[in-house]
């Protein structure tokens, strides 16, 4: 191996960021999504395992009231729309609009968290009443943790964008922030079905 001094591959002209799988952020995020999707799948699997082994499931007549959960599902599905716009605007380098839409996303998330409190109250069971109560609280709790985390992420990112000198790589952050929110939305749908509709089926 003798390096030949004249042969060089010059990279000075390359861009300093790229969207989607061109960015390291995307890869990190996909890893986190894979891990958390596995956790959700295991939690749902545990629900089914416990349900098939119990004499009676749910153990009492009282089923979770689907009103708040359904309302929340509608809000969550609707929230994909501002996220999509924020993402599009970021990918078109439209800074002001992307930032503003991020605030809309944040508003949706906050409304959702408030309604989540009512959801917990309408479950109709306590976590320590039976294994059924435990796994239902676990499912809803796990999803809530993701919701709160992503809301905080969005808030911090919005604050950075508004208060610090703007770096163009923040466009990637705004775009990936929306992708993570899609995961929060998508993972909710099976959990919603399991908590509210499986016992009625």
């Amino acid at each position: 191996m003798t390096p030949e001094p004249n042969r060089a591959l010059d990279v000075a002209a390359l861009p300093s960021f790229g969207f989607g799988h061109r960015s390291l952020t995307w890869w990190g995020l996909q890893g986190i999504v894979a891990i958390e999707a596995t956790v959700f799948a295991l939690a749902i699997g545990s629900y089914l395992y416990l349900a098939t082994h119990a004499a009676r499931w749910p153990p009492t007549e009282e089923l979770p009231d689907p009103i708040w959960g359904s309302l929340n599902t509608a809000i969550l599905l609707a929230s994909a729309w501002p996220n999509q716009i924020a993402r599009r605007r970021a990918e078109r380098y439209d800074r002001r609009s992307a930032q503003r839409w991020m605030l809309v996303c944040l508003a949706f998330a906050v409304v959702f968290i408030v309604l989540r409190v009512f959801e917990f109250r309408s479950l109709g069971c306590r976590w320590d009443s039976s294994a059924y109560g435990s796994i239902v609280w676990m499912l809803l709790g796990l999803h809530t943790v993701h919701l709160v985390t992503d809301t905080w992420d969005t808030a911090v990112l919005a604050l950075v964008c508004y208060t610090r000198p703007f770096e163009t790589r923040r466009f990637v952050d705004i775009s990936e922030n929306a992708v993570y929110w899609y995961f929060v939305v998508a993972s909710w749908l099976p959990i919603y079905a399991v908590i509210y509709w499986l016992p009625r089926w």
Binding site: M1, F17, G133, V156
Partner: protein, 643 residues
């Protein structure tokens, strides 16, 4: 806010000038002093710490094993009481599995992967530092618990109902459950870091089919961690909740199901065996190629076997549960899949044998450790096939036969290659070779000591000696074999002492290694030993799997910033240069965030409210970590350029 004056951007030329080098060193070095030590993010600083910590835990786990062997050396012994013995075997298993075997493999990768891939740094360097601190605090928690008589005592797999609130009152099992949370959090973060590094930071031209087999092994391992570890975190969280707030996941009286624990645990636990030993396979491929002086035979079958092993490892977990009341048809399926995984393992072994057969062998210490793998792992694999058969498993379940089997697999499959890797890469880490004569002593003490210690356990198991008993009566006739096993443990301990002495002595007085003492073929040998803070003065462009053995000279990358922490990102498949991104500066916040995380985890052993109030410092430190300083922003603005 006013922006700082920006730094003039300097870029490297080819060939690199002394000025390039000086700037790169200044840019990539961790800050000096204790403060700098707390802020370090360079993958080599973190990797070195990680490796040393993992070996300290290995020594601690080994001491616990030695205590057990002392206790079992003769019948009716009373060196340890039953309660202490329970804590010690639990701590030994938990330490070796959660604080040594998985972390040490990731630790070596943290140091080595960027070098073998020809990169400036590891992906997400601050997260890497955070993962190290979290791991360290988890380990300290476990041993602190032991010192204060809260050492877990329900076995390393903490089966319910024994580990549940009814049969294990007190806080012992909670310490175990939080140890899991700490170490698995760390391992999961490292897995993300490893996948991203392998997919995005490879040298230009290093296509997936030219990537070192070691990098493939770590990629497969990291993917397995991502899908396996969540199961044990979920399970240990449910256990903690059962114990702390009265949930009923595992309580059969309230529709809970103890077997759910075993499913969740082994859904993680079986892949874990493979994710301990697949990095070992990566070491094997690196060491065998170098000491046989030729490329590994069958690159594609090797890679496919690694990937196949990764998938099949997820279909075996029930073979740990053959002694439970599962349907027989289910057990048959798992017997078949347990037999099936022998195929990819055999393909790899045959490829290595072919490589050794066709190569010109140099019998240096690393190769000796690798050759021992063939004997020991194959024996462990064969007993594994026996245990995969349900009737035999029912007979041997929970006996010393299983103890023998698992040590043959894990020590033969992971620890022997790991020691080989230590001798092989020590010169890269330190600039000096380990002493060859002491290395041979270490090897023979371990090879003889290992077999002397663990082979008799097969016979003890066939004779019916159960696992986890603190003593046994003389009339059982198990005394002689146990004494032999203890004698073997003495040799193993002596081997570790020789190794430790060799390391300490060679750090000062070892023969100087130079960049490439073994004439290796992969990129880590194309830089000095130990590598400079930026790894390479100018990145290499590669054209084959063993670029240093190519007849044609390698080209180099120019135009990457030397004044800023700029890293070249390439495309995932063919490693075409794609973007140049700025990596973060050293920061105290990963350590602060890890401390806050530790407060949350330890607090939640005692009160569920810790999850709420300790969330505040965690969120605050993570936010401070992310928050860009004026200097960082100015640096980013210096070099930014939109696509």
């Amino acid at each position: 806010m006013k922006a700082l004056a920006s730094t003039p951007v300097r870029r490297n030329s080819v060939p690199p000038t002394p000025e390039d080098r000086a700037l790169l060193d200044a840019t990539w070095r961790d800050p000096p002093g204790f403060r700098g030590w707390c802020m370090a993010v360079n993958h080599k600083s973190i990797g070195r710490r990680f490796i040393i910590t993992a070996f300290v835990f290995f020594a601690a786990g080994g001491l616990l094993a030695a205590l057990m062997r002392w206790q079992l050396a003769v019948p009716d012994n009373h060196v340890l009481g039953p309660d202490t013995y329970n804590q010690i075997f639990t701590l030994h298993g938990s330490t070796m599995m959660f604080l040594f075997a998985v972390p040490v493999m990731q630790a070596v990768a943290v140091y080595l992967l960027p070098l073998t891939l020809g990169a400036r740094a590891i992906a997400f360097p601050r997260m890497n530092a955070y993962a190290y601190w979290v791991y360290l605090f988890g380990g300290l928690l476990l041993f602190a618990g032991f010192v204060f008589d809260a050492g877990p005592d329900a076995g390393w797999f903490a089966y319910v109902p024994l580990s549940g609130p009814e049969y294990s009152p007190g806080k012992r099992v909670d310490y175990w459950a939080q140890l899991i949370t700490f170490t698995e959090l760390s391992a999961l973060l490292e897995a993300i870091i490893i996948v991203t590094t392998v997919m995005k930071l490879r040298a230009p031209g290093m296509t997936l089919t030219r990537m070192p087999l070691y990098a493939w092994a770590m990629l497969v391992t990291a993917c397995m961690v991502i899908f396996a570890m969540p199961a044990v975190m979920f399970a240990s969280t449910a256990l903690l909740l059962d114990r702390l707030v009265g949930t009923e996941f595992f309580n059969p009286g309230e529709d809970g199901e103890p077997l759910l624990w075993q499913h969740l645990f082994w859904f993680f636990g079986h892949p874990e065996v493979y994710l301990i030993f697949i990095p070992g396979l990566g070491f094997m491929s690196a060491i065998i190629a170098t000491f046989a002086r030729r490329p590994i035979v069958g690159y594609v079958p090797m890679v496919l076997s690694l990937v196949a092993t990764g998938f099949l490892a997820f279909g075996l977990w029930v073979h740990h549960m053959f002694a439970t009341t599962l349907p027989d048809a289910g057990k048959d399926i798992f017997t078949i899949s347990s037999m099936l995984i022998a195929i990819p393992s055999a393909v790899q072994i045959f490829c290595w044998i072919a490589t050794l057969w066709l190569g010109r062998l140099e019998f240096r210490t690393p190769l000796l450790f690798v050759l021992a793998f063939f004997v020991i792992l194959v024996l462990g694999g064969l007993t594994g096939l026996q245990l995969a058969s349900v009737p035999l498993d029912l007979q041997l379940h929970d006996t010393y036969f299983v103890v023998a089997h698992l040590h043959y697999v894990l020590i033969g499959g992971a620890v022997f290659p790991l020691f080989g890797a230590c001798y092989y890469w020590f010169p890269k880490f330190t600039g000096r070779l380990l002493d060859e004569r002491a290395g041979r002593w270490h090897f023979w003490l371990w090879f003889v000591g290992f077999n002397l210690s663990f082979f008799p356990m097969h016979l003890l198991g066939l004779d019916g000696m159960p696992r986890r008993v603190y003593t046994y009566p003389a009339e059982m006739g198990w005394g002689t074999l146990n004494l032999l096993a203890t004698a073997g443990a003495v040799l193993l301990a002596a081997g570790v002492l020789v190794f430790g002495g060799n390391v300490l002595r060679s750090l000062r007085h070892g023969e100087r290694a130079g960049p490439d003492p073994w004439r290796g073929g992969t990129l880590e040998w194309a830089t000095e030993s130990p590598p400079s803070p930026a790894n390479f003065d100018a990145l290499w462009v590669v054209h084959s799997a063993y670029p240093l053995w190519d007849p044609q000279p390698m080209a180099r990358v120019s135009g990457l910033a030397t004044s800023h922490r700029e890293v070249l990102v390439t495309t995932p498949g063919v490693a075409r240069p794609d973007t140049r991104v700025i990596f973060p500066d050293p920061s105290p916040w990963p350590l602060a965030a890890a401390l806050a995380t530790a407060v949350l985890f330890v607090g939640s052993i005692y009160t569920p409210w810790a999850v709420v109030w300790a969330m505040i410092p965690v969120a605050a430190t993570l936010t401070a970590w992310f928050w860009p300083s004026a200097r960082e922003t100015a640096e980013h603005l210096d070099v930014e350029r939109a696509p």
